[in-house]
Symmetry: C2
Subunit: 228 residues, 2 copies
C-alpha cells in the first residue's frame, strides 16, 4: 500500500508552505539529502540553493532558518512513524501483540507498510538518528514549544504511551517509558555505528543481538515487573 505523508502544516514552522510549489518540494527533498550527507553543522542554505539551482534568498522565503527546516523535516518523520504504528496496530486487541508490532515498526520503519512515496525515508531516518535531539536542545525550546514546533513528536509519544498503558494500566510512568523507548532506539543505533564497544547491539558481527531484541526485553520487563 502506497501513501503520501501528511506534511506538518503548522504555519509557524515555515514562512511559505513548501508543499505549495516546486521549489518548496525541492527544498525539502534536497534538504533531506544534504543534511544526511553533510550533517546539520556543515549544511547551509547557500549550499542548498546551489544544489536546487536556486538562491539563498529564495530558500529564506520558505524557512526562517536551517533550524526551522530541521524541525520541519524531523516532524515529517514523526508523522510517518505515527502513521505506520497506527496502521500496524489497529484492530489488534491483544496488548502484548500490539507492543510487539510497535517495536517492530520502530526498528523497521523502512520496511514496514504503508509505503511512503513522497519522502526519502531512508535518509530521513539517518537524520533522525543524528540530529533529532538538536531540535529541542536549544535555549529557545520553551518559546518554540509554545509555537507548536513539537506537536508531531508529542502526539507520537502520547500514542505510544497509550499502547504501553493497555499492557499494564498500573505502570506508573508510561510517558517517561515511551520517551525512553523512542530515544533509546536512535541512541543505540548511533552507538552501534560509532561506539561499538559501548553496546552489545548492532551491526558489527552478523550474529550480534539487535536493537529490537533489546527493546523488547526492556519493555516487557518493565511492564511486567511488580515492586516486591
Amino acid at each position: 500500500m502506497d501513501i503520501k505523508v501528511h506534511f506538518p502544516d503548522n504555519p509557524r514552522l515555515f514562512l511559505k508552505n513548501p508543499e505549495s510549489s516546486s521549489l518548496g518540494t525541492k527544498i525539502v527533498s534536497e534538504g533531506i539529502r544534504m543534511i544526511k550527507k553533510h550533517g546539520l553543522e556543515n549544511f547551509t542554505f547557500k549550499k542548498l540553493a546551489d544544489k536546487t539551482g536556486s538562491t539563498e534568498a529564495s530558500i529564506y522565503r520558505y524557512f526562517e532558518s536551517k533550524h526551522h527546516l530541521l524541525v520541519y523535516l524531523i516532524s515529517i518523520y514523526w508523522e510517518v512513524l505515527q502513521i505506520k504504528i497506527l496502521f500496524n496496530t489497529q484492530n489488534i486487541s491483544e496488548p502484548w501483540v500490539k507492543i510487539d508490532k510497535l517495536i517492530m515498526v520502530i526498528t523497521n520503519v523502512l520496511e514496514v507498510a504503508p509505503n511512503i512515496i513522497n519522502v526519502n525515508l531512508k535518509d530521513l531516518h539517518e537524520i533522525v538518528i543524528c540530529e533529532s535531539s538538536k531540535t529541542y536542545l536549544t535555549k529557545k525550546v520553551d518559546e518554540e514549544d509554545k509555537e507548536g514546533f513539537f506537536v508531531s513528536y508529542k502526539k507520537l509519544v502520547f500514542a505510544l504511551s497509550e499502547i504501553l498503558k493497555e499492557a499494564n494500566p498500573h505502570y506508573p510512568y508510561p510517558r517517561a517509558l515511551a520517551v525512553n523507548l523512542l530515544e533509546t532506539t536512535y541512541e543505540q543505533y548511533y552507538f552501534s555505528n560509532h561506539f561499538g564497544e559501548l553496546t552489545e547491539l548492532g551491526s558489527e558481527r552478523p550474529d550480534s543481538p539487535t536493537v529490537k531484541s533489546f527493546l523488547e526485553s526492556l519493555i516487557k520487563a518493565v511492564l511486567i515487573y511488580k515492586e516486591n
Copy 2:
C-alpha cells in the same frame, strides 16, 4: 570529604593545558558559567574573552574551538561522576545495594560525597543535561573518537556495566543498559523541565514521582526479568 577532580589530560583536547596557568583556570570556570547561562550556540570565545578580561587570541591558545572546550568540560563531569560512583559503591558486596547507590549518585551528584572543590558542579550538571550529546552528534565523531575525545565517557559506561553485570551476570546487554541508564537520566530531567506533559517525573508538583524512582524500577525490572 573534599577533593579535587582530576581534569582530563588528553593533550588532543587542548592546545595548552588549562590547569597550567591562571588564564586557563579562568577559561574553564567562566566557560562553565557562560555555557550554562547562554547555551552552547550563543556562547562564543569573544564573549568568554571579554568576561575573563582577556582576548580571543589568548583563548585560542588553549582550545582549538568551542567544541573542544565543550568536550573537555563534559569530560570533567564524567570523571566526577565516576569518582563519586566509585567512592559510594566501594566495599559494598551486595550487588543490589550497589545498584541503589549507583542510581542514588547519578540522580544526586550535587549532594553526594566526596565534595568536589575545583569545579562548579551545579552549572556543569546543567550543561551535561542540555549539551552533552552534542559532543558526539557530529560528522567528526569517528575521527575524534580515535583521538580519545570520549575516553572519560567510555570508562564510565564500562564501570556502570560492570556493576550491572554483578547483579545479573546473564543479562545480555549490560553496556546498552548502562548507556540507556545514563542518557535517560539527563533526558528525563530535560523533559521534566521543558516538556512536562511528556513525563510523569519531575519538578512540577511536589508529590510527583522522581527520576530516581523511575530508574530504580527500570533497572530492577530489566535485570530481574527472565524471558518466558
